[in-house]
């Protein structure tokens, strides 16, 4: 269960993001507590990916602050940032596996960069991470192009887990998957979340995933974020949020979950 009393893992305060005259975020606030699965939703172009890139320190906010584990991401020294990178894992929408490396080499890539470990240890760790995400041992020697969509997402998750982070960012982890693969990815996520005590921030459009996994949801509407539990969101009267959680697709997902 999310722990709301201690310091948040991520605190975004008064975030402003602009592209020229176009305003994406205007005084956006967001908090992610330890050990919760936090879903970020919003319409296309609402700035979900911009928010993710800002949280990861890949983009400088035009105003406001982003803190991770209480440290301001904008005022980190290089060494502090390098250390912090070990504390979170990221998966990108299309996997972003390095196409010229095998799955095992992809998993070992951050390990080689941050630790000096001998080959057998690296092999063993690749095997461990494959086991964590439920990929067969034979997947180790395959190249990303030889994997199915679901396996790519799992391999990307294995790479994100390789440094044993406590915080995971997932960008549309189930997009492009068939319902069975998507559902098993949801189960995997819940399983890892409970076993490894991970905090997860997930951008998703998949309502089934949202209803199945997320403990709280943040919706980006009108350049700001509205945060609530799923039940709270279902009561929300904002027209966009109401449409999002009560549209035909949402009803179906909801029925599956509660039915």
């Amino acid at each position: 269960m999310p722990d709301t009393t201690s310091t948040p893992v991520i605190r975004v305060h008064g975030l402003v993001s602009r592209f020229g005259a176009q305003i994406v975020h205007d005084a956006l606030d967001m908090e992610v507590h330890p050990n919760e699965i936090f879903g970020v939703v919003g319409g296309s172009g609402a700035g979900k990916s911009v928010l993710l890139r800002t949280m990861l320190g890949l983009r400088r906010p035009d105003a406001g602050t982003v803190e991770m584990y209480g440290e301001n991401m904008q005022h980190l020294s290089r060494t502090r940032r390098a250390a912090l990178v070990r504390d979170y894992g990221v998966t990108f929408q299309n996997g972003a596996l390095i196409s010229s490396l095998t799955v095992a080499q992809n998993i070992q890539l951050p390990l080689r960069e941050h630790y000096s470990l001998p080959e057998d240890t690296l092999t063993e760790l690749a095997e461990l991470n494959l086991a964590l995400v439920g990929l067969p041992p034979a997947a180790a020697g395959k190249y990303p192009a030889q994997l199915s969509g679901g396996m790519v997402k799992r391999a990307a998750l294995a790479r994100a887990l390789s440094l044993e982070p406590k915080l995971l960012f997932l960008d549309e982890p189930t997009s492009g998957l068939d319902p069975i693969s998507a559902a098993s990815f949801d189960e995997l996520l819940l399983y890892l979340h409970s076993e490894l005590r991970l905090t997860v921030v997930m951008i998703t459009h998949d309502l089934d995933t949202l209803f199945r996994t997320c403990s709280r949801v943040g919706v980006i509407v009108d350049h700001r974020m509205t945060t609530d539990t799923l039940n709270g969101m279902l009561q929300n009267q904002d027209p966009w949020i109401h449409e999002y959680f009560h549209g035909p697709r949402a009803r179906a997902a909801e029925e599956v979950e509660h039915g």
């Binding site: 010229s100 001998p118 461990l128 041992p137 034979a138 192009a145 044993e164 076993e195 490894l196």
Partner: protein, 375 residues
Amino acid sequence: MNALALDRRGNGWALMLKGDWSLGAMAMIENELKMLTTPIDGALVCDWSQVAAPAIGPVWALLTRLAELNAGGFPVTHIAEPPTLDFLRKLNSERRALHDAGMAPPAEGRPAQFIGSLGRWTYDQGIEARGALDFFGRIVKVLGEAFARPGALRAPSLVRHIYETGITAIPIVSLIAFLISVIVAYLGAQQLSRFGANIFVVDLVTISVLREMGVLLTAIIVAGRSGSAFAAEIGVMQLNEETDALSAMGMNPIEILVVPRILALIIALPLLTVIADAMGLAGGGLLSLVNLHIPLPQFTSRLRESLSSTTFWAGLIKAPVFAVLIGMVGTYRGMQVRESARELGRLTTLAVVQSIFMVILADALFAVLFVQIDF
């Protein structure tokens, strides 16, 4: 031993775990685990009470090693174990069952023997040759169809590629032809002036530029510019499944992507060669004027005397042949791209290297042929 200590305890064993069990210490921990060679004959107790928050990796390594040592199947119990231990223990035993069931990746074979690798190389070359022949056949087929259906020639695409491979290459081809010709004339003049034969610089420039250098330099520049562009463009389309999309919509990728590029080169390369020839002669003329004080009228009259009827054509006739070689190699390598970004880079490089090699090889064959038939 910094991370563990194994002791007798009654009839069984006790494994005391201590110190740093983070991911960074994993190499050391694995080392110590390997040094545990005592067969464990009796119940084993693992005591975690002196390890604060171990990482998953080292715990996994310990579980794997214990499974190897504890083949006799004596019970293993844990005291003050980390919260992830149960989960990992289950995962580890499932995983070993998988490996035992032969799901493990096949072990790497022995390094290939010489005969074996020679055989494999020959086989690969055979496959490659068949692929290239097949590719050539498809191109010829499209060209054959074009007689019945001129639309197959894709005029808009053809014009675009003539612009990209021809018109945009004019500045660089002109500059290089001019400079190389100046260099040849300059070095030639150094030698010839010792015999008072300055005027023969004109012959040297004319014949070398028109017969060889104009067309060869142009072909090499075009191979570098357009051969690589062809391979990269078509290669990226392969990676994005664009060529599959074309095929699925009933369009022939050879007709749409390959033939216009090759035809464009066949048209553009001779024209570029004419420009390179003109710039080369201009460079020779300029150097003769400035360095050797041969006035322009004298240069042109000497130029006319040194030309035979075939000098110009002996160069130009090679251009379409070079164009076919460059175009075919570039597009063929592009069509071969599969799966990864590295393939794209490898095949683009290969396209440039091979097309330059083929051009020079063809040029050598032409040289022998022209001498034999006295062209």
